[in-house]
């Protein structure tokens, strides 16, 4: 019996001791080494700048040994950015909410909140993009020697530009990223010019879900409402995504109700049928507007201009046509 105990303790002890040593040799293989001879010429002009140090938006930095070839994105917005800047071919797996562009359909889906570390590693990922809520996963992947960037959901349009630039820099596609940003600026600028003559837009309740969750001005959607000169009734809330109650909505009496939860089954009819809502002027004047593609509006990615236009058309049909 004593012998067994000794053996067991030895095993346990060795598990602990050994693990301490193995941390050091877990550096990933440089991807450049895998490249076939035919692509070497392509890489040559850029290889001068590698290895290079990238500083992400949280101030963390990491060393990149080459342009990532196997990118895993666990952020729907980052997925859209990667495809927009032309890095879509390097994306090998995405989270289960990444549904745009259509090319993502054929990619393996890794879940979101519980993306499995082993799965990411076994795909041979040399770059992982995560988003807010994945702080621990990000730390863990870095410990495992995998370049990982946490791109927190941007709270402003400028934040989106920064993320696009960063991904452009990482993927060696700086020029494409600049083009995307310039186009976005143009698109948003055009919308702003259209609304120049609007003095004071209508007041609005932006419904994220039937539990009356909404957005404050301290959020990216809040900024969109601002650009559209809408007076968000929850603009001054203490948190970015506050929960309102019916009483305060009735008191604020919004001119317009925007339904961002249309995809989840809410529509103008269901809102009209809610008891107590008949006193709100948006309901009386039939100004319950359905946002039919919620992703365009709620995702801080390269399609934000489209989202702006989508809401703009709903609210100012005369100006936008």
């Amino acid at each position: 019996m004593l012998r067994f105990k000794t053996v067991f303790l030895t095993i346990l002890f060795s598990l602990f001791v050994i693990s301490g040593c193995s941390n050091s040799d877990s550096a990933p293989t440089p991807t450049a080494a895998i490249a076939t001879p035919t692509t070497v010429s392509n890489l040559n002009d850029q290889s001068a700048s590698f290895p290079k140090t990238i500083t992400d938006l949280t101030g963390d930095s990491f060393v990149l040994n080459g342009i990532p070839k196997n990118v895993v994105s666990i952020s729907p917005a980052a997925t859209e950015i990667l495809f927009a800047i032309g890095a879509g071919d390097s994306v090998i797996a995405v989270d289960s909410f990444s549904n745009f562009p259509a090319e993502t359909e054929s990619l393996p889906k890794l879940g979101f909140q519980d993306a499995n570390t082993e799965v990411i590693v076994s795909y041979g990922a040399d770059l992982v993009i995560t988003t807010g809520g994945h702080e621990e996963l990000t730390q863990q992947l870095k410990t495992l020697g995998i370049a990982t960037v946490l791109l927190d959901g941007a709270v402003s349009i400028d934040g989106i530009y920064l993320q696009i630039s960063l991904l452009g820099e990482i993927m060696g596609l700086e020029n494409n990223a600049e083009v995307i940003i310039t186009n976005m600026r143009k698109q948003i600028g055009a919308i702003e010019r259209k609304l120049e003559d609007v003095e004071n837009g209508p007041s609005v309740f932006y419904e994220l879900d039937p539990g009356l969750w909404t957005v404050s001005s301290d959020s990216f959607v809040g900024e969109l409402l601002n650009i559209l000169k809408l007076r968000n009734i929850a603009a001054d809330s203490a948190t970015s995504y506050p929960q309102m109650n019916l009483e305060s909505i009735i008191a604020e009496n919004p001119d317009i109700i925007l339904l961002a939860d249309f995809q989840y089954g809410e529509n103008s009819e269901s809102v009209k049928a809610r008891p107590g809502w008949e006193v709100i002027s948006a309901v009386q004047n039939n100004q319950i507007l359905e946002i039919r593609d919620g992703d365009v509006v709620s995702r801080p990615g390269p399609r934000v201009g489209n989202g702006l236009e989508l809401i703009g058309k709903l609210i100012y049909p005369d100006i936008f046509d």
């Binding site: 019996m1 067994f4 067991f8 060795s14 598990l15 602990f16 050994i18 693990s19 301490g20 040593c21 193995s22 941390n23 877990s26 990933p28 293989t29 797996a93 289960s96 393996p108 889906k109 890794l110 879940g111 909140q113 519980d114 993306a115 499995n116 570390t117 082993e118 799965v119 590693v121 076994s122 041979g124 807010g132 809520g133 702080e135 621990e136 996963l137 730390q139 863990q140 410990t143 495992l144 020697g145 927190d152 203490a238 948190t239 970015s240 929960q243």
Partner: protein, 348 residues
């Protein structure tokens, strides 16, 4: 008397030996399971290379990384957390002579989580020092919880079984409400709490294992040496006192030790329910309630249960995974209900 004693020791060792054998088998099975297709022999080779660092073969780096840096720390963490939860659960049950006592129903886990949630939203930068501080904060806040529960439940110098559980459940509800409040109002900083509330081992690293394990070992050692006194504590307090046991002191030391390991388990893997409750019960049904045997077997089976449920958690909906707390509750909940109803039948 001597014959009886030797006989008990002999059969106890055999039972512990069998339990360890099951744990080791399930652990090896667990190491071989996962999304990455790593053959069993490759896995054994990788483990062998860990011990003989000179012996390098042609195994891919990613397979090595998956076994040594993902599956192995995860296995060790689930062994330690499962063992800790069941060990502390069994101890609480012995201290309070209450079969319902467990780190969750007593409010200890909720107390620990509230402490950790406060640490997460604290203005300090989240770094290694916070990592070191986490199990300590969890211990202090769970310690405060248990003291409040005891003050509430103490009637005329004695602990009433129902009052303890009621106080624990009430405190647990209050603490959970505060944690949810922090979660809702804390904005971005509070988001790591989400993953924590679900409970699980997906983001476990060796560092986290090393930071939390010492407390489990410390508390575990204390219970290991004092656990047999729980047998005497099953008598009523006067009788126990007459047998020469300092009842009050024993209770307090064992309580502190059990809370230390429960808090360390919560800091490592978040909220994982039902292990501390059902595993000791299961063992009691199989081997009776001699704490000399019940305690070690509860620890070993607790570890086995969590290792097994974690395999389910990370393989059942590949390539995604589900928090292990969901699996332990799904498997443990029905068992607990069955246990309650079968006990009712017995008593009637």
């Amino acid at each position: 008397m001597r014959y009886f004693f030797n006989n008990f020791i002999g059969s106890a060792y055999i039972k512990i030996f069998i339990a360890l054998l099951i744990l080791i088998t399930i652990s090896i099975f667990s190491l071989s399971q996962g999304y990455a297709d790593i053959h069993f022999s490759t896995m054994v080779k990788i483990l062998w290379e860990m011990i003989n660092s000179n012996d390098h073969s042609q195994i891919s780096d990613s397979s090595k990384l998956i076994i040594t840096e993902i599956r192995l720390p995860r296995l060790i963490a689930s062994i330690i957390v499962g063992g800790a939860l069941a060990y502390s659960g069994a101890t609480y049950q012995g201290i309070f002579r209450n079969p319902l006592a467990d780190p969750f129903l007593l409010g200890i886990a909720s107390g620990a989580s509230l402490g950790i949630a406060l640490l997460v939203i604290s203005p300090w930068e989240q770094n290694l020092y916070i990592g070191i501080l986490t199990p300590l904060v969890a211990f202090v806040s769970s310690g405060i919880t248990i003291v409040v529960v005891l003050l509430l439940a103490r009637k005329a110098g004695k602990f009433d079984n129902y009052s303890i559980i009621l106080a624990g459940v009430a405190l647990s509800a209050i603490f959970s409400a505060f944690t949810s409040f922090i979660l809702l109002t804390g904005g971005e900083n509070a988001r790591p709490i989400f993953g924590f509330l679900f409970g699980g081992f997906n983001t476990i690293t060796w560092l986290k294992v090393f930071l939390c394990t010492p407390y489990v070992l410390l508390g575990g050692t204390i219970i290991f040496f004092l656990g047999h006194r729980l047998n005497i504590l099953q008598l009523d307090d006067d009788q126990a006192q007459n047998l020469g046991l300092d009842v009050e002191k024993t209770r307090i030391i064992l309580l502190a030790a059990a809370s230390l390991i429960a808090a360390a388990a919560v800091s490592m893997a978040g909220i994982i329910g039902f292990v501390g409750l059902i595993v000791p019960h299961m063992i009691r049904l199989i081997v009776g309630s001699d704490y000399r045997l019940l305690l070690p077997l509860a620890a070993i089976f607790g570890a086995t249960f969590v290792v097994f449920t974690d395999v389910i958690a990370r393989t059942i909906i590949e390539p995604q995974e589900i928090p292990v707390g969901i699996v332990t509750a799904m498997v443990g909940g029905p068992f607990f209900i069955w246990l309650l109803s079968s006990q009712k039948r017995i008593s009637m």
